[in-house]
C-alpha cells in the first residue's frame, strides 16, 4: 500500500511539474517579453529593464519558472500586469465560488442519477427503462449553457422567481446565496445527471450479470435485496471514480455556466483576463485549474484502490 502510494505521489509530482512547465512555456515564453507587451515596442531599454525588475521577469527563464512555482506553492502569485491587483486573494476568492457551484451541481447530478440510472438498469428490458435511457441519452446531447439559457428564459425572464445572474456569497446572506446559486447549479448539474445516469446504468447492468449476485439470491435474498446489499456497493466502485473525473470536467464546464449567469468564479476571471490580455492572470488561473484537475485524478486513483480490497492488498 505504501509503495503504491509512493509511486502515485511521484507520478503526481512529475505530472504537475510537466504540466506547469507547459503552462509557463505556453503563456509566459511563447507570447514574447511581457515587458514589451506591457510598455509597447517603443519603450526605452531603461523603462523595460525597470519594468522587468519590478515584475520579476528578469533573469534566466528557468529561474523565473522556479520562482513562479515557488509562488504557487507559497501562495504568492504576484500582481497582475494589467490591473495591478494582487492575484492570490483574487484567485482564492474565485476558487471558493466555483467550488461551491461545482459541488452543488454534482449534488444535483447524483440525487438524480443514482436512482434513475439504477432503475434504468433494472428495467432495461421494458419500456420504462428504455425511456429513462433515451431521456438520459438526449440529456447528454444538450449543451449545459443551453440549459442555462433556457432556465433563465423560464425562471428569470418569464416567471421572475429567481435572478438571471449575479452572485451572493453564503456569508453575505444565505437566502440570497441560494437564490443566486440554484439556477447555475441546476444548469451545471442537469447535464452531469444525464452523463452519470448512463454510467450508473452500465455499472449496475454489469453487476446484475455477476455470479455473486446469483449466489446472494440462492442464499435467500430477493433480486432487489441482493442488488441493494451486494450490487450497489460493487457498482459504487466505478461510479465513485466517474464522479471524480466528472468533477474535474465540471470545473472546466463551469467556465461557460459562469458566463451565462455572470457568476464571478474562476471561469469568469479566466475569460476576463483573456479579454484584457492579462497573461500573468491567465497563467495563474490555468495553473490553479490544472492543479485541481490533476489532484482530482490522483484522488480518484487513490479512492479506487481504497474501495476495492482486491486492489488494496495486491498493491
Amino acid at each position: 500500500m505504501l509503495r503504491h502510494l509512493a509511486s502515485h505521489v511521484v507520478q503526481l509530482v512529475a505530472t504537475l511539474l510537466v504540466a506547469t512547465a507547459a503552462i509557463f512555456v505556453l503563456l509566459r515564453v511563447l507570447p514574447g517579453d511581457p515587458a514589451v507587451v506591457a510598455l509597447g515596442l517603443d519603450a526605452s531599454p531603461e523603462a523595460l529593464a525597470a519594468w522587468r525588475a519590478e515584475h520579476g521577469t528578469d533573469g534566466p527563464l528557468v529561474e523565473q519558472y522556479l520562482r513562479w512555482i515557488g509562488g504557487l506553492l507559497t501562495g504568492d502569485l504576484g500582481t497582475s500586469y494589467v490591473t495591478s491587483q494582487e492575484l492570490t486573494p483574487l484567485i482564492a476568492d474565485r476558487v471558493q465560488v466555483t467550488a461551491l457551484l461545482v459541488l452543488l451541481g454534482m449534488l444535483v447530478a447524483l440525487v438524480v442519477a443514482v436512482p434513475v440510472g439504477t432503475l434504468a438498469a433494472v428495467w432495461h428490458r421494458n419500456a420504462g427503462g428504455v425511456t429513462l435511457s433515451a431521456v438520459s441519452q438526449v440529456g447528454v446531447a444538450v449543451p449545459n449553457f443551453l440549459v442555462g439559457v433556457l432556465l433563465v428564459a423560464v425562471f428569470a425572464v418569464r416567471l421572475g422567481w429567481l435572478p438571471s445572474g449575479g452572485w451572493t456569497a453564503p456569508a453575505d446572506g444565505f437566502g440570497e446565496f441560494w437564490r443566486h446559486v440554484l439556477l447555475p447549479a441546476v444548469a451545471l448539474g442537469s447535464v452531469q445527471a444525464a452523463i452519470i445516469t448512463r454510467y450508473v446504468r452500465s455499472a449496475v447492468l454489469e453487476i446484475m450479470r455477476e455470479d455473486f449476485l446469483r449466489t446472494a439470491r440462492a442464499q435467500g435474498l430477493t433480486f432487489t435485496g441482493a442488488l441493494v446489499r451486494h450490487g450497489l456497493r460493487n457498482a459504487g466502485v466505478p461510479i465513485v471514480t466517474v464522479v471524480g473525473v466528472q468533477i474535474a470536467s465540471m470545473l472546466i464546464g463551469a467556465v461557460v455556466i459562469e458566463r451565462v449567469f455572470a457568476v464571478p468564479g474562476l471561469g469568469s476571471l479566466l475569460l476576463d483576463s483573456v479579454g484584457n490580455r492579462d497573461l500573468l492572470a491567465v497563467q495563474s488561473v490555468v495553473a490553479v485549474l490544472v492543479v485541481l484537475v490533476v489532484l482530482l485524478n490522483f484522488l480518484v486513483d487513490l479512492v479506487y484502490t481504497l474501495l476495492d480490497p482486491r486492489l488494496r492488498r495486491a498493491s
Binding site: T15, Q219, V256, V260, L271
Partner: protein, 867 residues
C-alpha cells in the same frame, strides 16, 4: 465540454471488441439506425448549404427578430439574417471542427496506444508505462481549457479550437487503443501468430489493427460528439469561430439578449447542437452493440448444438420411462419442466427429475444441454428473457414453486433448497469478508446476528478452512477454499436439497477430490438430497446413486448409476460413455534394451531450467530446475495441476518465453538464456518451422476476423517457415490449406467461413490444421481438449494421434488430466510446484507411481466405475 462516454471513457473499462461477423442487419439495432440518420441529416445539411441556402446567411435584412413564418421559416435574428440559412451553414463549421479534432486525436493517439500495448504485451512494461504517462499528462489539459489558453496566446478562431480539442482528446484514444491492443496481444491467436514466426509488425497490421478498429471507431464517434459540444461552448464564449461565419454556439450566445422576445433564436441552434451530438453518441453506442463479442458467442453455441444434434440418433426421448418408481415422497421434484426463450426457442422440454431425501442424483449432459437451466428453474433463479412452465415441488412446501413470487422463493432459497455454483472465483461478493457472507445466509432466515456469526465461524472450520478465514476477503482465498465457503453458505441452514452445478469443474484434480468428499460427508450428515450437475461421467459414477441424462433440453435416459452405465439404453448415453472411458494407449511391446528412439538425438532437451517472474514485491519461481528429453517419434505427456509450471515449460521449449537459467535445445537450436542474444539472434525461425503449437482455448486461438483459410495459411506467409519445394505461391498455399483441412476432417468449403461458425471441436481441428500446415517435426499441444465436451474430446485426441502417426510427428502433450495423457502418450513427466517429480513410460508411471504426489494425483483422478 463535459460529455464523456460511460463506457469508453471510464477508467479501465476499455475493451477490444472482436467483430461479430454474424449476419445481423442494422435494422436490428435501432440506436445505430437513428444515430446514422441524425448524423446523415447533419452531413446532408452541411453539403446542401455549400451550394444553396434560402438566403445568404451573412446578409443583413431589414426585417429583424421576425418569428418563424412563411418567408423566413425559422425567423430572422437581430440583424435581419435568416436563421434557417445560418443554421444550415453552421453545420459546416461543426463538422469541420469535429473531423479535424477527431482526426488529430486518432492519428496521434492510436499509434501511441498500439505501441504501448504491444510493448507491454511483449513484457517491456517500463517503456510502455512511460509512453502512457506522457500521454496522460495531457489529461491535465481538458480540450476546452487548452482552447482558451491557445486562444489567449495565438488568437481565438476555428483553427485554434480544432487543434486544441484534438490535442485534448489524444489520451482518450491512446487509452482505448492500448487497452484493445493488450487484449488482442494477450489472445491465443496472437500467440499462435508469434509461434508461427510472424514479425511484430505483421502481427500489428494483420491482427491488432483490424481487431481494435471497431473500438476506435466507437471512440471516434463519441469524441466527435464531445468536439461538437466543445466547439459550441467556445463559440458561445466568443472564443470559437469568428463572425460573420455562422456558428451554432455563437447564435446561442447572441440569442441571450432576446430571451422572452425571440426565444426561437435560442431554441433553433440549441436543437441543432443536440441533434448532432445525439446522432454521434447514438452512432457510437449502436456500433458498440453491433460489435459486441457476446453475439459471436451465441453463434458458436448454436454451432455446438447443431454439431451434437447431427450425430445423435435414438428413440423418441419423450417415451423414456424411469426405471425405478420412487416410493418415498421426493425432497425435490421437477415435473414436465419446459423452459423457453421469449423468442420461442425451447431450452428444456418436459424435463422431470426426482430427488428423494438423502438421495444423490446426477444430472449429466454436455454444454448447452440444459443442465444448469434445470437447476436455476428449480430455485427460481432463471435469467431474464426465459420463462418456465411445468411443476417444481419441494418437500414441506405446498404447491408449485414456479407459481410463486420472488419474495416467497427468496424465503425458501438458502433454507429449504440451496445451491453451489461452478465458478468459485466469481461466486462471492469481492467487497465483503467471507465470514459475513456466510453469516448473512443465516440472518436472512431469522438467526440472530451474534448467533449467526458464531455459527459461521464454526461452519468455516467444519469445511476445513483456517481459523482466520472468516475475516478474509474472497480474493485472499484459493479457488478450492472459496468453493468451501460457498459450500458452507449452502449448508448453513441445513437445507433439504442441495443443488451443485459443476461444483468442482474449475478446480484441480486433487482439490476436486477433497471438495467432493467434503460435500458428500456434509450433505450425508444432514440428510440432504443432492442434485449433482456435471459433464464428467467419472465423477457421477463416484458421487451419485441415480443418474439423469440430458441432451438438448430433453431427458433421454435415467436410472441407477450402475445400471445405466453398465447397460445404457440410449445411443447418446452409449456414445457419452464410450467417449468418457479413455483406454490407455496400446503399448507396443518395448524391447528391454535401448530403443532406436533412445539412440537418436533428442528433439527437445531441457537441462536444469529455472524460470523466475519478477512479481510485485516478490519473485515467483515458476520452474525450479527442470530436466527432460523428448526423442523423435515419442508421444510425450506433461502432466500437472495449475501452477505446476507445465505451461511455462512449454512456452520456453517453443521459444515463446526465455528461461532464467539452464539449458534448452529445441530441434537443434540453442534456446538457453543468453544464447538467444539481444535481438533473438539465433534462428528462432528454425525452431518454429520445426515445432508448432496447438493452444488450449479454441475460442480464443483463432482471430475472429479472419477466414479459416487465411488462419490456416498464416504460417505459410513467412517464407522462413516454408520448406524447400513447399507452397510458395498464393494458389499453392490455397491447395496446402485445402489438403490440411481435409486431413483434419473439415469440409473444403470451411476455408471461406469464419471461426464463429464452427463448434469448439471443429475450431480445435482448425487450430491443428494451422499447426501442421508447415509440416513441423514436433507438435506441442497445450491442454488441447480441456475446453471441449467429452464426446468431442475423444475425436480430437484420436485425430492428434492419427496425424502424429501419418506425419511422423513427435508429440508433446500438456494436460492436467492423467487419463488424457495415458490415452495418447507413451512417455510421461509429472510436474508439481515447478519440478518434474517423476517421469518414465506412461504405463509404469500410471500403474506403479513412485512419487507420493503422482500417487495422490492418480488416486484423486475420478475413474469411470462401470458396474
Amino acid at each position: 465540454m463535459t460529455a464523456q462516454d460511460p463506457v469508453a471513457g471510464a477508467p479501465g473499462a476499455v475493451a477490444a471488441l472482436p467483430v461479430a461477423t454474424g449476419r445481423r442487419t442494422p435494422w436490428a439495432h435501432p440506436q445505430l439506425l437513428l444515430g446514422a440518420v441524425l448524423v446523415g441529416l447533419v452531413l446532408l445539411t452541411a453539403l446542401v448549404s455549400l451550394v444553396w441556402t434560402p438566403f445568404d446567411p451573412e446578409h443583413a435584412g431589414a426585417e429583424r427578430l421576425l418569428p418563424p413564418g412563411p418567408e423566413h421559416l425559422l425567423g430572422t435574428d437581430r440583424f435581419g439574417r435568416d436563421v434557417l440559412s445560418q443554421v444550415m451553414a453552421g453545420a459546416q463549421i461543426t463538422l469541420l471542427v469535429g473531423v479535424v479534432a477527431v482526426g488529430i486525436a486518432a492519428v496521434v493517439g492510436v499509434p501511441v496506444g498500439v505501441l504501448a500495448g504491444m510493448l507491454q504485451g511483449a513484457g517491456r512494461r517500463r517503456p510502455a508505462t512511460l509512453i502512457m504517462r506522457a500521454s496522460d499528462i495531457l489529461l491535465a489539459f481538458p480540450g476546452l481549457l487548452l482552447a482558451i489558453v491557445l486562444g489567449a496566446v495565438y488568437g481565438a478562431g476555428t483553427l485554434t479550437a480544432m487543434i486544441a480539442l484534438g490535442i485534448g482528446s489524444i489520451p482518450a484514444f491512446a487509452r482505448v487503443a492500448r487497452g484493445g491492443t493488450l487484449q488482442v496481444v494477450r489472445s491465443d491467436y496472437v500467440l499462435a501468430a508469434r509461434a508461427a514466426n510472424r514479425p511484430e509488425l505483421a502481427v500489428a497490421v494483420r491482427h491488432v489493427l483490424p481487431n481494435i478498429a471497431g473500438t476506435v471507431l466507437v471512440q471516434c464517434s463519441v469524441n466527435f460528439a464531445i468536439a461538437v459540444l466543445a466547439e459550441a461552448g467556445l463559440s458561445f464564449l466568443g472564443l470559437g469561430t469568428a463572425p460573420p461565419t455562422p456558428s451554432w454556439g455563437r447564435m446561442l450566445q447572441e440569442s441571450q439578449q432576446f430571451l422572452g422576445v425571440a426565444d426561437h433564436l435560442a431554441v433553433v441552434p440549441g436543437v441543432a447542437i443536440a441533434v448532432a451530438v445525439l446522432g454521434f453518441n447514438l452512432l457510437g453506442d449502436g456500433l458498440r452493440d453491433v460489435l459486441d463479442p457476446r453475439l459471436a458467442g451465441v453463434a458458436a453455441e448454436r454451432a455446438d448444438a447443431a454439431a451434437r444434434a447431427e450425430r445423435v440418433p435414438g428413440p423418441d426421448p419423450r417415451t423414456v420411462t424411469p426405471r425405478d418408481a420412487a416410493a418415498t415422497p421426493p425432497a425435490l421434484e421437477v415435473r414436465d419442466l419446459d423452459v423457453r426463450t421469449h423468442g420461442g426457442r425451447a431450452l428444456l422440454s418436459g424435463v422431470s427429475v426426482r430427488v428423494a431425501p438423502g438421495e444423490r442424483v446426477g444430472l449429466i449432459g454436455e454444454s448447452g444441454s440444459g443442465k444448469t437451466m434445470t437447476a436455476l428453474a428449480a430455485l427460481g433463479l432463471l435469467p431474464d428473457g426465459v420463462t418456465a412452465s411445468g411443476h417444481v415441488g419441494l418437500a414441506g412446501v405446498p404447491g408449485n414453486l414456479l407459481e410463486r413470487g420472488e419474495r416467497e422463493l427468496a424465503a425458501l432459497r438458502g433454507r429449504d433448497v440451496s445451491m453451489v455454483f461452478q465458478e468459485p472465483m466469481t461466486a462471492l461478493d469481492p467487497l465483503v469478508r467471507v465470514g459475513r457472507q456466510v453469516a448473512e445466509t443465516m440472518t436472512l432466515h431469522g438467526t440472530g446476528r451474534a448467533a449467526a456469526r458464531a455459527r459461521a465461524a464454526a461452519l468455516l472450520a467444519e469445511v476445513g478452512l483456517p481459523d482466520d478465514a472468516a475475516r478474509r476477503y474472497p480474493h485472499e482465498l484459493s479457488g478450492g477454499q472459496r468453493q468451501r465457503v460457498v459450500l458452507a453458505m449452502a449448508l448453513a441452514n441445513d437445507p433439504a436439497v442441495l443443488v451443485a452445478d459443476e461444483p468442482t469443474t474449475a478446480l484441480d484434480v486433487t482439490v476436486q477430490r477433497q471438495v467432493l468428499d467434503l460435500m458428500l460427508r456434509l450433505a450425508g450428515e444432514r440428510g440432504a438430497g443432492l442434485l449433482f450437475i456435471t459433464h464428467d461421467l467419472a465423477v457421477v459414477s463416484q458421487v451419485c446413486e441415480r443418474v439423469v441424462v440430458l441432451l438438448d433440453g430433453v431427458v433421454v435416459e435415467e436410472g441407477p448409476v450402475a445400471e445405466v452405465f453398465a447397460r445404457p439404453r440410449h445411443a447418446y448415453t452409449r456414445r457419452l460413455l464410450a467417449a468418457s472411458a479413455l483406454e490407455p494407449r496400446a503399448t507396443t511391446a518395448e524391447p528391454a534394451g535401448p530403443t532406436a528412439a533412445e539412440h537418436a538425438e533428442a528433439v527437445v532437451r531441457v537441462e536444469d531450467v529455472t524460470r523466475t517472474y519478477a512479481g510485485r514485491g516478490r519473485a515467483v519461481q515458476a520452474l525450479r530446475g527442470v530436466s527432460l528429453e523428448v526423442r523423435p517419434g515419442q508421444r510425450f505427456g506433461l502432466v500437472g495441476e495449475s501452477g505446476s509450471g507445465k505451461s511455462t515449460l512449454l512456452r520456453i521449449v517453443a521459444g515463446l518465453d526465455e528461461a532464467t537459467s539452464g539449458r534448452v535445445v529445441t530441434a537443434g537450436v540453442d534456446l538457453s538464456p543468453g544464447a538467444r542474444g539481444r535481438r533473438g539472434a539465433p534462428p528462432l525461425g528454425d525452431v518454429r518451422r520445426a515445432l508448432q503449437v496447438v493452444f488450449q482455448d479454441p475460442y480464443g486461438s483463432l482471430d475472429p476476423r479472419m477466414t479459416v483459410g487465411d488462419i490456416v495459411a498464416e504460417p505459410l506467409l513467412n517464407p522462413a517457415n516454408v520448406r524447400e519445394g513447399g507452397p510458395a505461391t498464393a494458389s499453392a498455399r490455397r491447395a496446402a490449406v485445402r489438403e490440411m483441412l481435409a486431413a483434419v476432417g473439415l469440409p473444403a468449403n470451411a476455408a471461406d467461413r469464419y471461426p464463429h461458425q464452427f463448434s469448439g471441436g471443429q475450431r480445435q481441428r482448425i487450430a491443428i490444421a494451422r499447426a501442421l500446415v508447415c509440416r513441423p517435426r514436433v507438435l506441442v499441444a497445450d491442454e488441447p481438449v480441456s475446453a471441449l465436451d467429452v464426446s468431442v474430446r475423444r475425436q480430437v485426441l484420436d485425430l492428434l494421434t492419427r496425424l502424429a502417426d501419418e506425419h511422423d510427428l513427435t508429440l508433446l502433450l500438456v494436460s492436467h488430466d492423467l487419463g488424457v495423457v495415458r490415452h495418447v502418450c507413451d512417455h510421461v513427466a509429472v510436474m508439481h510446484d515447478g519440478l518434474v517429480v517423476e517421469q518414465g513410460p506412461t504405463a509404469q508411471v500410471y500403474d506403479d507411481p513412485r512419487d507420493a504426489y503422482t500417487r495422490r494425483l492418480r488416486e484423486a483422478t475420478p475413474r469411470l466405475l462401470v458396474g
